[in-house]
Symmetry: D2
Subunit: 284 residues, 4 copies
């Protein structure tokens, strides 16, 4: 990893904190939890999610408006209309928004209404997108590729940083393996390694790793105990009606329960969670 | 898994508890920690280990006397002489012993002085050995094969149970994958799945999964937070002098620190650890 | 694969032929061989390659001018200057050119001087790029992602076809696995499967799969015997001086020998190779 | 591989030839083809197979009497009764027999009526079995483990040779990977590598790798073109009635066709196949 000049720690306590808003920061003492549906489907859906999750509390909302789908005939996301929904929910609930950027041409419009730009697994080595996002003025959530080595993951972050954007959060989301029981294999050893190698925050997406909702709560607590700085979890008002990834979405009640169960685990390793406080967030 | 009549839970609260001694049981409320060197090297080595670990406290000792080595020219273990060392340490320190059985011909002699018979990863589908161990009157620690699916792992336990031995503990120890940074990938999703599918205890071996000692403590805490019933961890009085797997062995002091750090994590999810109490164990 | 309406065969003899020039077509009776360096380095280099390979004969030239590199500090390719070199060599030697497109913004300029646009492994699911290339008026060489299933590969081709471009050639180039001896594992079972499932031509890149030049000739003959429609192979006038992937580049003499050794294998399964004939190619 | 003193070539032309009978040898100029069912089911079944295959010609018969099955409730093979069937067929048709040994206790009885002892994938690192087979006086067919590296495979052969048995044939049979379309991934790069590294014969089992009968003929021709010394292929008089692995068994007619199609491929790389000649084999 010696080539990763900007991403690798220069001393063991070096620690980057990435701010999503005045009140929410990833990489500090507090564990950050990001929740929301796989796909933005309607304003009603997103409002229902925000209303429930703000008191979990969840610190930021996720929801895709441009969706990378294996089939060209699958729903590709609401696009601009979805972005307007995200902007509206962001304003009403004062919660930061995380959403995926699939193409350079989308960066400007998404940056205008989101607080964090997600690079999905399939684009982890889309180097032109990495270079462009490196010039954006927003925090980046970089998801590990399905078969990316730790070194390749670190070097992808180095692309973003070397083009000028220091606010990169790494996200382990499961790697491809041979067992059909889980969708992917959550690699918590990589989380531990990344926290030792880099100064960047590392969060975990147990939803895509497990692919089955009944595995997610235990994996979430495991991730926090391993040292992850946060979680990004899929949930939906009516999981079985989700337009995508229904099998792995939690109900909103299960999401609230999960968030609450994380608190004692965080404290067991000397960290804290965010407390509920309304008005919770004043977004810049 | 419908074929795994004996291993699969018939109702969600079914829970098998496997007793290693009058005082040590795996699968109940208390987390069990097994520690010791990869390989038994001398009585002095094992006594040093036992003296330190009893006050961690660690509940059982591990140490190989028959070693599966990739090369026929590598040290193959002390054999019978090593078994005598294990028997002596077991008696002096009243700690149960876990050691690997590589062949049917070794079962009787190992069962005479160990409290738990380990089937290693390479033998997870050595079906004749599974059948023979199914007829032994000792608890079994069954390690997952390097590329075994969850279903194959469950069916290997079914072999043992169907031949008459109900005292099987499953052990996740990392699966083979593409990343050279860690030796294997610890699959905690499998641990969560196995706890949901089967009524058997499930423990985790972070040492073989990580292959690097600096990753082990965090993975251990993660495993407990995920719901594992215990840990089996390699440690050595002088790790760099270990005859095998030196890179992944903890010092005895690091082992004690790790064990203590597990307590608050166990409590965070409503479980407990064993407390130090001398004389700790009265072995049957 | 039922969603892959355009890519899947409707009857067993359906067979698409993709034309690179008036004289070179992939998917017919004749095996097509594409050769050249990993990276375009100079006009002299490319001319040396073309002079040698035209009499192998090799039917088309490869050479990257936009290079996907793991590190942002590695040479990223000659860009436009490299394209001019490719255009010049194409004209002088009347050989079709295959080169990689990494971004939508490059399509127009590359399409102006290349005969086939390559989508690299890392971009196999860069869906916006697939959609854009689907609207380009040039044949596409779609390389399989490092951990892409056969179904995902087929669906990526479906993206391109569904956006209007019927001239897609699939390329198996090795998948990521656990063995460090070879760089990747060449999956010839996928080649056989793709020929049965789809009507598209399928070629094989043994260079990236093997990662070691001494394995390439045998794998090339194996690929043809399995039914591949062609090969794309890296070679260099001075392999050890190659700016990238030096370890897997053949010398030009070895490349000529390899091409000649393919002929009897092709004939053994009822196919042919292209014969040497000057002027070999009249490019449209 | 420097530890593999006995298996690694000392000079590039070193080449071990393993004799199955006076007339059949693996590792020479001639390609050897071994065929037969997954499991011995009856004398009638094995006679039907032998009658057809002797004129393909196939040089040796395979058939399991001790079967490694994932489930303890699946048919475990005919055992001794199956061995008697193999002995009878061997005598009547003068064809060498290859069958699997799963346990040390079976070696003597199997060696009494088989010409080659197979170590299956699951037992590739059953070191006690390797040591025992190293002391047997019969050729050994060592199958690669599902997730074994090339180095581990070579070292497993080294175990056998270092215990005294020089007649080891390596068999690539597919490795475990992420794609559900094929059962395993046939790693022909490993075949090429093993031929370069070791002096031992290397054969290929496309049946277990592909897991689908329609892929087997193409993969067989590919394996021979890559340099494999032979093939071991599953076939059955009525594939859909096979008690195991039905989906990958060829009909006997398809097997004959496959064998005949191999001849021109072998000749294309300068090798030959065995010709039909009755009495074909005089077994010692």
């Amino acid at each position: 990893m010696k080539d990763a000049k900007l991403v690798v720690k220069s001393e063991s306590h070096q620690n980057t904190i990435v701010h999503l808003s005045d009140h929410v920061a990833i990489g500090g003492q507090k564990i950050v939890i990001i929740g929301g549906p796989c796909t933005v489907e309607s304003l009603t859906q997103m409002e229902t999610v925000a209303q429930h999750l703000q008191f979990a509390p969840v610190q930021a909302l996720r929801g895709g408006v441009y969706k990378p789908r294996t089939s060209p005939y699958a729903f590709q996301g609401m696009g601009l209309e979805g972005l307007e929904i995200l902007a509206e929910v962001r304003k009403r609930y004062e919660m930061p928004i995380v959403t995926e950027v699939m193409a350079i041409s989308q960066i400007e419009e998404i940056a205008a209404c989101a607080d964090m730009l997600q690079i999905g697994s399939r684009n982890m080595q889309n180097f032109d997108l990495l270079k462009a996002i490196g010039q954006a003025n927003k925090p980046v959530l970089l998801k590990r590729g399905l078969a990316s080595t730790i070194e390749e993951f670190v070097m992808a972050a180095e692309y973003i940083m070397s083009y000028g954007n220091p606010n990169v959060v790494l996200c382990e989301r499961g790697i491809r393996s041979f067992d059909p029981y889980t969708r992917n294999v959550l690699d918590l050893g990589a989380v531990v390694a990344l926290k030792q190698i880099t100064h960047l925050p590392v969060i975990v997406d147990p939803s895509h790793a497990a692919g089955k909702r009944e595995l997610i709560a235990d994996l979430s607590r495991g991730a926090i105990a391993c040292g992850a700085d946060g979680l990004i979890i899929e949930c939906h008002p009516e999981p079985d009606k989700s337009v995508s990834d229904a099998r792995q979405a939690l109900t909103l009640d299960d999401m609230v329960n999960l968030v609450r169960s994380v608190k004692p685990v965080a404290e067991a390793i000397g960290r804290q969670v965010y407390e509920i406080q309304r008005p919770q967030l004043a977004i810049a």
